[in-house]
C-alpha cells in the first residue's frame, strides 16, 4: 500500500477552471465581434485576430525569456487581445496595434508578475497609452467598409459623443442604429445589443455578477439625465457597455464583494460623466475604469464582508 497521496482537504473540486472562465468571456465576445465585422468590414476581423495572436505570442515569448511556464493555455492573454482590439478604430495601423499589445501584456501584466498580479486592466491601460501616443489614428472613425459603412461614412466622421460635446445633437443617429451599433466608434464598442447579449451570457454562466455593469451604466444614465445631457445617447455611446460589461468586471482589478462592485460601478459612472461633460475628451470610460482600478484595493478593504458571528475588529 505504498504511494498513497496525502493531501489537504477538500479532496473533490468543482469543474470551474481559469481557462473555462476565460473561454466563457471569449464566447461572450463573439456577438460583438460578429457585429464589428458586419458594421466595419473584414478589417475588423483582421485587427481582432492580430491583437489576440500578438498578445498570446508576446506573453509566451516573455515567459520563455524568463524561463517561466507558458500560460497561454489559460486564454487570459487571448481575452486581453480581443478586448484591446475592441477598443481600437477599425482603421488602426497594425504596427500601432502591436505597440498596444506590448503595453498590455508586457508593461501592465507581466512586469507586475503576470495573471492575477496586475493592478490595472491591461486592455484599458493599453488603449490609453495608444490614445496618447497615436491620437490621430486613434480618433479616426472613418474608413469602415461594412454593410452599412457607406451610410455612416457619408454622414459623419465623428462619434455620437463628439456630436454631443460639440452641441451638434441634430446629427445624432437613430436610437435603433445606436442599439445595433451602426455609428462611429471603436470596432467592438458600438453594438450595444451584441455586448448586452454577451453580458447576459456571462451573468447566466455566473462568470460575472450584475452589480458592476448595472451600477456603472445606470449611474451614467441617471447623472447625465440630471445634467440634461442626452442621457439615452450617453448610455448607448462610447465604450460604456463594452467597459461596464467586460472591463469593469475583470476579476483581478476590480472588487470581490457585491458591495465593492456597486461602489466600483458607481464611481466609474460618475467619473465617466464628469470627463464626458466637463473634460476636454469626449469619452471617459477607459479613464474612469483605470482610476477605479487604482482605488480597488481600498474599496476591497472598506467592503470586507462582516464575518458570520464575527465581532467588530
Amino acid at each position: 500500500m505504498n504511494g498513497l497521496t496525502v493531501s489537504v482537504s477538500p479532496h473533490i473540486r468543482d469543474g470551474a477552471t481559469t481557462r473555462r472562465i476565460m473561454l466563457d468571456v471569449l464566447i461572450a465576445l463573439v456577438p460583438a465581434a460578429v457585429a464589428s465585422v458586419v458594421i466595419f468590414g473584414a478589417r475588423a476581423a483582421l485587427v481582432i485576430a492580430f491583437c489576440a495572436a500578438a498578445c498570446v505570442l508576446l506573453e509566451a515569448a516573455y515567459e520563455r525569456a524568463l524561463g517561466r511556464g507558458i500560460t497561454a493555455g489559460d486564454l487570459s492573454a487571448c481575452v486581453t487581445g480581443v478586448l484591446l482590439a475592441f477598443n481600437l478604430p477599425v482603421s488602426i495601423p497594425l504596427w500601432q496595434a502591436f505597440v498596444g499589445c506590448v503595453a498590455a501584456i508586457i508593461l501592465v501584466k507581466q512586469l507586475f508578475g503576470g495573471l492575477g498580479k496586475n493592478f490595472a486592466n491591461p486592455a484599458i491601460t493599453a488603449r490609453i497609452v495608444m490614445f496618447l501616443a497615436f491620437s490621430v489614428t486613434m480618433t479616426k472613425w472613418t474608413g469602415g467598409g461594412g454593410l452599412f459603412g457607406e451610410t455612416y461614412d457619408a454622414v459623419t466622421g465623428a462619434t455620437p459623443l463628439t456630436m454631443i460635446a460639440q452641441g451638434n445633437t441634430g446629427a445624432l443617429p437613430e436610437i435603433t442604429d445606436m442599439l445595433l451599433g451602426v455609428r462611429g466608434g471603436c470596432l467592438g464598442e458600438t453594438s450595444v445589443l451584441a455586448l448586452a447579449l454577451g453580458g447576459a451570457y456571462l451573468v447566466a454562466r455566473r462568470v460575472i455578477t450584475w452589480h458592476t455593469p448595472a451600477a456603472f451604466i445606470l449611474t451614467v444614465l441617471a447623472f447625465t439625465a440630471l445634467l440634461g445631457r442626452e442621457p439615452v445617447y450617453q448610455m448607448f455611446s462610447g465604450g460604456l457597455f463594452l467597459g461596464a460589461i467586460f472591463m469593469a468586471t475583470d476579476y483581478v482589478t476590480t472588487p470581490q464583494t457585491a458591495a465593492g462592485r456597486l461602489i466600483f460601478g458607481l464611481g466609474a459612472g460618475l467619473i465617466t460623466v464628469v470627463i464626458r461633460v466637463y473634460g476636454s475628451y469626449p469619452e471617459g470610460v477607459s479613464y474612469s475604469i483605470l482610476l477605479m482600478n487604482i482605488l480597488t484595493p481600498y474599496i476591497n478593504r472598506l467592503t470586507v464582508k462582516k464575518a458570520f458571528g464575527g465581532a467588530r475588529a
Binding site: V6, H11, T17, T18, Y251, T257, A307, G309, A311
Partner: protein, 444 residues
C-alpha cells in the same frame, strides 16, 4: 435573514440503502487513548492482561477527556506511543483478539434518577461527538444553568458527500433517537429537541417525523442540501436563526448540538451498559470493489473494512478517513477506526490527482461561497506576506475549514492549507503579543 454561503457538492450517497453489516473481528486492533478533543485517556491495562468487550482500558484524565473501552475480547499485546490520524500523539493499546467477543462481565445498565446520574452515564459511555469532531459529549451537556438552554439540536444533516452512516442511524435506530430525545427532555429539562436533516434524505425525515409528530417539543426540520448544513454554526442558524458570536459557544446562545449517532450511542449504553465500542462506517469510493456500510469495532484497521467490502482496486491512490470535503488523507490502511470515524473512502488514481494550482485571479468565488462570510483568498495572500495582524482582522480564527473555498476555486488554490498555516501563525503572534504585554506589566 442572512443567506449563508455553501456549495452544491455532489451527494454520491450510493450506500444509503446498504444496511450496515458487521465485519469479521480482526486479529489485532489498536485503541489510541486520544480519540477525542481534550486530555488523552490514561491506559490502565498492561501487556499480557486479558480484556473483554466493553471493559475499561483507559481512564478519562480530567474533566475534558473521555474513557476508552476494549472493543474486542482478547489479550493486550502492548501499550505504545502512537500518532493518531488527528496528529495527536498519545499512548495506544494494542489488543490481540480471541475472536470470542465475550462481553465484559462487569457491564451494568446505569440507573438513572436525576441529571447528575444521566451525565455520569454519558461520561462513562465513552461517547464523544461522533459527527467527526470528537468533543466529549458529557462535557458538552454539563451546563451550569439548564434553564438557559432553549434547544437541543440533533444533527442529521450529513452534508458530506458519500457518507451515509448517520442516514443508517436515522433509518435503523429511529426508536433509539426517540428514546434519546425523551431522555434529554427528562433529565436535562430542555423542552425543545429539533432534528435537522438535509432534504436529500426523505427516508430518515419520514421516519423521524412519525415519532416527532406524536411527541411534545420534538420537531424535524428539513434543511436545503447545501454543504455544509451540518456545520455546527450553520445548523444552529438555519434552525433557530441564532448566531454563535465570535469566541462564544452554542451554549452561550442557549443551544446544544448533538450528532444523531452520538445520541444513539448514549441510548445504547443506558439500555445495556455497553459503552461505545463499535461504529457504523461507510466504505465507499471509486477504488472500493463493493461499497457499503459496515459495523466495525473501534480500533480495527481500515484495511479490515476494505477487505470486507471486496478489497481495493489495484489503482488505489488515496484513502480518506471521513468525507471528501473535510476528511483526512491517510498514508496507509493500518490506521485504526476511531470513535468519530464515520467513513473510510478509497479513490482510484484518476480521482486522487491533485489539480495543478494556477495563479489566483481574485474572482471572489471563495468569498461568495464561504458560509462564514470570510475572504479565503486574503488568508493565502496575507499568510505569504507574513502579516499575522491582518489575519486577525480577516478573522481566520472563525474558519471551520469546510473547504467550500477550495472546492469552488477555479485556480485550484489549496486554500484550506493556508487557513491551517494562517491559524498557527496567528496563534503564535497572539501568544507573543500576550507575553510582551505581561512582560511590560511586570516591569511597571
Amino acid at each position: 435573514m442572512r443567506k449563508l454561503g455553501g456549495v452544491r457538492a455532489p451527494h454520491r450517497k450510493g450506500t444509503a440503502d446498504s444496511a450496515p453489516r458487521p465485519i469479521p473481528i480482526p486479529p489485532e486492533i489498536r485503541l489510541p487513548m486520544s480519540m477525542h478533543i481534550g486530555a488523552p485517556a490514561k491506559p490502565i491495562v498492561k501487556a499480557g492482561d486479558t480484556v473483554q468487550v466493553g471493559q475499561l482500558i483507559g481512564e478519562a484524565a480530567g474533566f475534558v477527556s473521555s474513557p476508552v473501552h476494549a472493543s474486542v475480547s482478547g489479550k493486550v499485546k502492548r501499550v505504545d506511543e502512537y500518532d493518531a490520524v488527528t496528529g495527536l500523539g498519545a499512548a495506544s493499546v494494542v489488543i490481540e483478539s480471541d475472536g470470542e467477543q465475550t462481553p465484559y462481565d462487569g457491564l451494568r445498565a446505569p440507573e438513572l434518577s436525576d441529571m447528575k446520574s444521566f451525565l455520569d452515564a454519558v461520561r462513562d459511555s465513552g461517547v464523544v461527538g461522533l459527527g467527526g469532531a470528537g468533543f466529549p459529549t458529557a462535557v458538552k451537556l454539563t451546563v451550569k444553568d439548564v434553564s438557559a438552554v432553549d434547544y437541543i439540536l440533533i444533527n442529521g444533516a450529513e452534508c458530506e458527500p458519500y457518507i451515509t452512516s448517520d442516514t443508517r442511524t436515522m433509518l435503523d435506530e429511529t426508536e433509539m433517537l426517540e428514546e434519546g430525545a425523551l431522555l434529554l427532555q427528562k433529565y436535562l429539562g430542555v423542552k425543545s429537541i429539533v432534528f435537522g436533516v438535509e432534504s436529500n434524505k426523505p427516508g430518515p425525515i419520514k421516519k423521524l417525523t412519525e415519532f416527532a409528530s406524536r411527541r411534545d417539543g420534538i420537531e424535524v426540520r428539513t434543511l436545503p442540501a447545501l454543504y455544509p448544513q451540518g456545520g455546527e454554526k450553520v445548523l444552529i442558524y438555519q434552525i433557530t436563526g441564532r448566531r454563535v458570536p465570535e469566541g462564544k459557544l452554542p451554549l452561550d446562545i442557549g443551544v446544544i448540538v448533538l450528532n444523531c449517532t452520538t445520541l444513539t450511542a448514549i441510548v445504547k449504553y443506558i439500555r445495556t451498559g455497553m459503552p461505545l465500542v463499535s461504529k457504523c462506517v461507510t466504505v465507499d469510493g471509486s477504488a472500493v470493489i463493493n461499497p457499503g456500510n459496515v459495523v466495525a469495532p473501534i480500533g480495527a484497521p481500515l484495511a479490515a473494512l476494505f477487505d470486507f467490502c471486496g478489497g481495493l482496486k489495484d489503482d488505489v491512490k488515496k484513502v480518506l478517513m471521513g468525507g471528501p470535503m473535510m476528511g483526512i488523507a491517510v498514508p496507509d490502511t493500518d490506521m485504526p477506526v476511531l470513535k468519530a470515524t464515520n467513513a473510510a473512502l478509497a479513490f482510484s488514481e484518476k480521482d486522487a490527482l491533485l489539480p495543478a494550482e494556477t495563479p489566483c485571479i481574485r474572482c471572489g468565488r471563495c468569498v461568495s461561497h464561504c458560509p462564514m462570510g470570510l475572504a479565503p483568498l486574503e488568508f493565502e495572500r496575507t499568510y505569504r506576506l507574513k502579516k499575522p495582524e491582518l489575519l486577525e482582522k480577516y478573522k481566520v480564527n472563525l474558519c471551520m475549514e469546510c473547504g467550500c473555498c477550495a472546492y469552488s476555486c477555479p485556480a485550484k488554490r489549496m486554500l484550506v492549507q493556508y487557513v491551517k498555516l494562517s491559524k498557527i501563525m496567528l496563534r503564535e503572534y497572539q501568544a507573543a503579543q500576550k507575553a510582551a504585554a505581561e512582560k511590560k506589566e511586570a516591569a511597571v
